[in-house]
């Protein structure tokens, strides 16, 4: 295992996590991650981080807003 950043992995991190790699690229990445602790830990971390960012950033609609939106129904283009 190397302590140096793995350039290839860093390059494909986004596509891997977004699941936009081709099948061949995916297989290649999986093989590499199986043998590289350095990258595997970072990928795992990034996955957790994305989930956490979403959980933290999602805010539900404040009470009362839906009623205000309901009141807008039937608005006319000419109004």
């Amino acid at each position: 295992m190397t302590r140096d950043p793995c350039d290839k992995c860093e390059e494909i991190l986004q596509d891997y996590l977004d699941r936009t790699l081709t099948n061949d690229e995916w297989a290649e990445a999986e093989t590499h991650l199986d043998g590289c602790d350095y990258c595997r830990r970072r990928y795992r971390f990034e996955e957790n981080l994305r989930r956490y960012v979403k959980t933290s950033a999602v805010e539900r609609m404040p009470p009362g807003l839906m009623e205000k939106l309901q009141e807008l129904r039937g608005l006319d283009a000419t109004a």
């Binding site: 986004q14 830990r41 933290s56 539900r60 609609m61 807003l65 839906m66 129904r73």
Partner: protein, 194 residues
């Protein structure tokens, strides 16, 4: 040309009223998701509420321009992001130039050098950062990058949807997303490890 039969005209009006009602109900079913994006694009809850109300007022007024069967959630967000630009919210207190983002592994590397490599294996390591710090870090990203991160990572839109909503090429969505996520991690590292 003769006037339409009163009965025919009445049926047409009734059918249109039903279409409109269906449209409004479908649009309202996305309200929570629309608000979720609005809230992270603007600075306060009040502004987000205003923006969502303006979006729905515009959507209800232009319901005929929506093509049934197409992606209504994306259509609503297109209206919302355009209104947001119109109101100049996009240029709120942002630095003239986004500093060059560090690497994708920047935050992970910082945590690893502070707590050891194994710390990255722990599911809870991310939770040591407060949710407020995540929200603040997100808010600090330059708007053009933030809107893509918010649409894709918070709103669950695909690259293609985000491209359609913002009227930019998919490649631009991907590069802004990449830069936005890097900026987010850099900011998180600064906020939580200072």
């Amino acid at each position: 040309m003769s006037e339409p039969e009163p009965a025919t005209e009445a049926r047409r009006i009734a059918a249109e009223a039903r279409d409109r009602q269906r449209f409004e109900e479908e649009a309202l079913s996305f309200a929570d998701q629309v608000y979720r994006v609005a809230r992270r694009l603007v600075g306060s809850r009040e502004e987000a509420e205003d923006l969502v109300q303006e979006t729905y007022a515009r959507a209800f007024r232009s319901w005929r321009s929506f093509t049934p069967g197409t992606n209504m959630r994306a259509w609503l967000l297109r209206i919302l992001t355009n209104l947001n630009v119109d109101r100049g919210r996009r240029i709120q207190r942002s630095p003239q130039q986004q500093p060059l983002e560090e690497s994708d592994y920047y935050l992970a590397n910082k945590l690893a050098s502070a707590g050891g490599e194994e710390v990255l294996e722990q599911d809870h390591v991310v939770e040591r950062m407060s949710q407020d710090s995540v929200v603040n870090a997100l808010a600090s990203i330059q708007p053009q990058f933030r809107e893509v991160v918010v649409l894709v990572d918070i709103g669950d839109f695909t690259y293609a949807d985000a491209a359609q909503i913002l009227d930019i090429p998919i490649g631009t969505v991907m590069s802004r997303l990449h830069r936005g996520r890097r900026a987010l991690k850099q900011q998180l590292a600064e906020e939580t490890m200072a």
